[in-house]
């Protein structure tokens, strides 16, 4: 999608008036395009306003108690898979050893803290820059790293929104991946949307990579290998990747994650860290 087309679709998107394909296409574009993202934020004010339409009508009297009873009865969040009780809990139980701080809540808080920290560091670096034009190579390096980390965080946030959206849908199914020879302790899960035209890959226990490497997801069918995108993981080994635009994902037979050069590879070249057959674990 080009910026021009995205610009034309943004308003219908804000009104909730795009069909599924257009919505996906637009989100994919906006995610990767700072210009359109800026337009989106600018224009989203009117949508926020529409959401505040109307005087509050009191919610039904018994509803509060009913919800709290449900919550209480389920002890942990249940009903439909959610970020807390759903995919990550599943993923954790698939891991034999306990993984520290895997709850998405913690990830989310970390994101905020990290971005805050990154901003501070950024400011420090910039102040130094002003003070002393002989910015050391080391600081520039840190700055690059922060920028890179910020980009990754931004991507993670967008993915989290996709994930939240996915988790709220009925008929979501999952495919489990297990650690390959070079990363036996890692695990992964692909959550598929009900019609399996898109999904989100979650990984746990993968090692952080040097800056010139990324993880790349491959989908295979009839010995043909298709790249489904690249991702990085945070210091806790968690990674997320939005998978879309490849048709019905159930048509593929196998999944594999390998370590590749930063720009991704046309063919898998590096160590295989996750793998699994495209076997649907069933709808939740």
């Amino acid at each position: 999608m080009k910026c021009e087309e995205a610009g034309e679709l943004i308003h219908a998107y804000l009104l909730g008036a795009l069909d599924e394909d257009e919505r996906r296409g637009l989100e994919a574009h906006v995610r990767g395009c700072p210009d359109c993202l800026a337009v989106y934020y600018e224009e989203s004010q009117s949508m926020e306003m529409l959401l505040r339409v109307g005087d509050p009508v009191p919610a039904p009297l018994g509803l509060r108690k009913r919800i709290l009873d449900m919550v209480n009865a389920s002890a942990r969040p249940a009903m439909r898979p959610g970020l807390i009780g759903g995919p990550l809990a599943l993923l954790r139980s698939a891991l034999r050893q306990p993984v520290a701080a895997t709850a998405m809540a913690v990830v989310s808080i970390t994101l905020v803290v990290l971005s805050g920290g990154a901003v501070l560091l950024w400011q420090e670096v910039n102040e130094l820059k002003d003070e002393d034009s002989r910015l050391s190579a080391n600081l520039q390096d840190q700055l690059d790293q922060i920028q890179e980390e910020n980009e990754r965080l931004a991507q993670t946030i967008v993915n989290q929104l996709d994930l939240a959206y996915l988790a709220s849908m009925e008929g979501v199914s999952t495919v489990m991946l297990e650690g390959g020879d070079s990363a036996p302790k890692s695990t992964g899960m692909l959550m598929l949307s009900p019609n399996a035209t898109w999904g989100v890959l979650l990984t746990l226990g993968l090692e952080s990579l040097p800056r010139d490497k990324v993880y790349q997801l491959w989908l295979m069918s009839n010995n043909i290998r298709t790249s489904a995108g690249t991702f990085k993981v945070d210091s806790a080994g968690q990674g997320q990747l939005m998978v879309q635009g490849l048709g019905d994902l159930r048509d593929f037979e196998n999944l594999e994650v390998s370590i590749e050069p930063a720009e991704g590879s046309p063919e898998a070249s590096g160590a295989n860290v996750l793998k699994g057959p495209m076997v649907i674990d069933g709808s939740q």
Partner: protein, 183 residues
């Protein structure tokens, strides 16, 4: 803990760690808004109640996905409510299409919305030119896609897109202006 003194973002963190009282506090703060929005869109008390329950439960399950840097909590939860209500509207239309009755939808578009108090937004909406107001009603309040709206109103898709953009901008300018008057 004095839950009512906490910010929404603090409450969502607590909810993410399984704190039910924090959820109750968020409910007390936002349930009426969510319910009103759902009622506005659906025009049915029982359906609005279900949507509200659904939305609060999804806050319970997904509060970790809320990012305070990205949006106010009230916006986030309202978007969830809007999505759910629109899903319900689309389901209703599907059901209606399967057991064909007449199509009241367009006629309803105005009446559902007309009975609700809008405060500032209402006057801004009413000040929109009729053709712009129509696309907002059908899109935002009725959950039709722009392609559907183009067919329903027999307007070219490009026109519908342009009208949506113009409508949103007019609304924003109008509400910004009245906010400035207040200050």
């Amino acid at each position: 803990m004095e839950y009512h003194l906490l910010e929404d973002s603090e409450l969502t963190s607590l909810v993410a760690s399984g704190d039910q009282q924090a959820l109750a506090a968020l409910y007390d703060r936002h349930a009426n808004r969510v319910f009103s929005l759902a009622l506005t869109l659906l025009g049915d008390y029982h359906d609005a109640e279900e949507v509200t329950q659904d939305v609060i439960m999804s806050v319970w399950q997904n509060s970790g996905a809320y990012d305070p840097l990205r949006a106010r909590f009230s916006t986030w939860i309202a978007r969830i409510a809007h999505n759910r209500a629109v899903d319900e509207l689309r389901r209703r239309r599907k059901r209606a299409a399967e057991s064909p009755l007449e199509d009241h939808e367009i006629a309803q578009a105005d009446s559902t919305v007309a009975g609700i108090e809008y405060e500032t937004v209402r006057s801004a909406l009413y000040e929109l030119p009729e053709e712009h107001r129509r696309v907002v009603y059908l899109g935002f309040f009725q959950g039709y896609t722009h392609t559907e709206i183009s067919k329903m109103l027999d307007r070219p898709l490009g026109t519908v897109k342009t009208q949506m953009r113009a409508a949103l901008r007019l609304l924003r300018d109008r509400v910004t202006a009245s906010a400035e008057e207040v200050l």
